[in-house]
Amino acid sequence: MSLGTSDSNLTARRRKAAAFRWSCAALTSATIVLLAILIFHVCKQGLAWLDWDFLTSFQSSRPENAGIKPALVGTLWLISLTACIAVPVGVAAAIYLEEYARPSRLNTLIEVNLANLAGVPSIVYGILGLAIFVRGLGLDRSILSGALTMALLVLPVIIMASREAIRAVPPSLRQASFALGATQWETIRHHVLPSALPGILTGVILALSRAIGETAPLVMVGAATYVTFLPDGPMDSFTALPIQIFNWASRPQAEFEKLAAAGIIVLLAVLLVMNGVAVFIRHRSRKGVS
């Protein structure tokens, strides 16, 4: 038997390769078209309402006066605080699991649970947050309660992505560092973390992007929908973009639906900025590395 060198065999293989390529392209464009339709629809409804007043006004029962300022500020507070809590804890946990922990039954248990936790519905985290932070620790319906809850929600994703990134650091780098008499901490600090940074960052941004859009846990820990002041600190009550959007979208008047669309555009813009920053940092650190 010849090894697939005959013409007919080659043609068949080429055809298969082409078919695969085209079906991939078709599926990709289907997703993009759907997304484009969605964005087009939202923009058509919302762009007219999106102006400086909308960004700088408070909530109001009259749609033409209503604005998104407290929700936007609330979301920025919430996400920054969530990042401040979840990133150090998550990266530290990943370092511990990858670099220090010896293989043991406990670690296998932790590993399995991490994967499971990443799939737990967000409302469950909301209930947990309500029981522990709002009631148990008496933090009340504050930004801090919301951020702690969100941090729990994103931790598994951050830990798993960071572990993946740390594991991908070439062993030769560790060897080089240890062979020069570096301690484990120096090796981690000077070589492993910088080299894993792009991967860690990707995981963090993905996780935080998910957190920005989460509504259910915030409803549980009691984000308000009618806030007439800006939060001054982490103990203030707050509202957030998805809550505000949900609130507007559930009202009967058509104008509020347009407001909701405008709110969605703002949310997407925040996401875009975050992802842009991530791409920028990744690009810079990669330039530094290679």
């Binding site: 080089a176 062979a179 020069l180 120096e186």
Partner: protein, 263 residues
């Protein structure tokens, strides 16, 4: 052949009944060797007979492999290398290692030196610069890189990278240098350069070099150790002064290997 001065800081190493397991399989067994100070000892032998494993057990780099178990005895001067309370950080400062594939850090050339020096407590800028220059001169790289110390070390050629790694190890002023096939990833000219500089360092360090290049072993080594692997793992078949081993080896395996008849 001991060519170095009495006050030379380099130290001799010995191993006694050294055995190394990965999990349940032995990489080598019962290796007892004298590695005299200030001499170049070459390890030769076919692939997979445990030369790299042996080398990395000497500076306890095998600690990084969880499944790896080393038994027996290793000494560096008066130091018991395998003792549990041995300070491996200090140990690895005394024993520099160069790998088969050049592994410069993805930083600037200058930082490749500054980072390990700082880790070992050299804080003064002037001293770091002076040690960097001295080490780079030792490997003949100074004139090639003096204008580009701020550029990434990865922009150097393979041969330059390997000499940089050698210089980086030298900057810590080690007593022993372990070299694992340092020339195997290089073209003949770069390889010859690295070899020249190794020879020029002769007498300042105790050197253990793994090489597949028998001609190279013959050119630079004082002593040669011949490893061989059979079903039960690697072992040392024969060791001795370079001429004795190449000219009139006792063991038929060695005779055949150095004549290039197998392996």
């Amino acid at each position: 052949m001991n060519s170095c001065a009495d006050d030379c800081p380099c130290a001799a190493m010995t191993t006694e009944k050294l055995t190394l397991h990965y999990g349940a399989t032995a990489a080598f067994r019962d290796v007892s060797l004298e590695i005299p100070r200030c001499e170049i000892t070459a390890l030769i032998g076919p692939s997979g007979c445990g030369k790299t494993s042996f080398l990395s057990s000497l500076n306890r780099l095998t600690d990084l492999v969880p499944s790896c178990r080393v038994t027996g005895r290793i000494t560096l001067g008066d130091l018991e290398v395998l003792a549990p309370d041995t300070n491996v950080v200090a140990l690895r400062r005394r024993i520099g290692m160069i790998f088969q594939k050049p592994n410069p850090f993805a930083f600037s050339i200058a930082k490749n030196f500054a980072l390990p020096l700082r880790e070992h407590g050299v804080r003064e800028h002037a001293e770091i610069e002076q040690r960097t220059e001295a080490a780079l001169r030792d490997v003949g790289l100074w004139d090639e890189v003096r204008d580009r110390l701020r550029r990434s070390a990865r922009t150097l050629s393979g041969g330059q990278q390997q000499r940089l790694c050698l210089a980086r190890a030298l900057a810590l002023e080690p007593e022993v240098l372990l070299l694992d096939e340092p020339c195997s990833a290089l073209d003949p000219i770069s390889s010859a350069k690295v070899e020249d500089h190794l020879q020029s360092l002769k007498g300042r360090f105790t050197v253990v070099i793994v090489t597949h290049n028998l001609a190279q072993a013959r050119r630079i080594a004082d002593r040669v150790v011949f490893f061989w692997a059979d079903e039960s793992g690697g072992r040392v078949v024969e060791s001795g002064p370079v001429d004795a081993l190449f000219e009139d080896a006792i063991d038929p395996l060695t005779q055949a290997y150095v004549r290039g008849q197998h392996g």
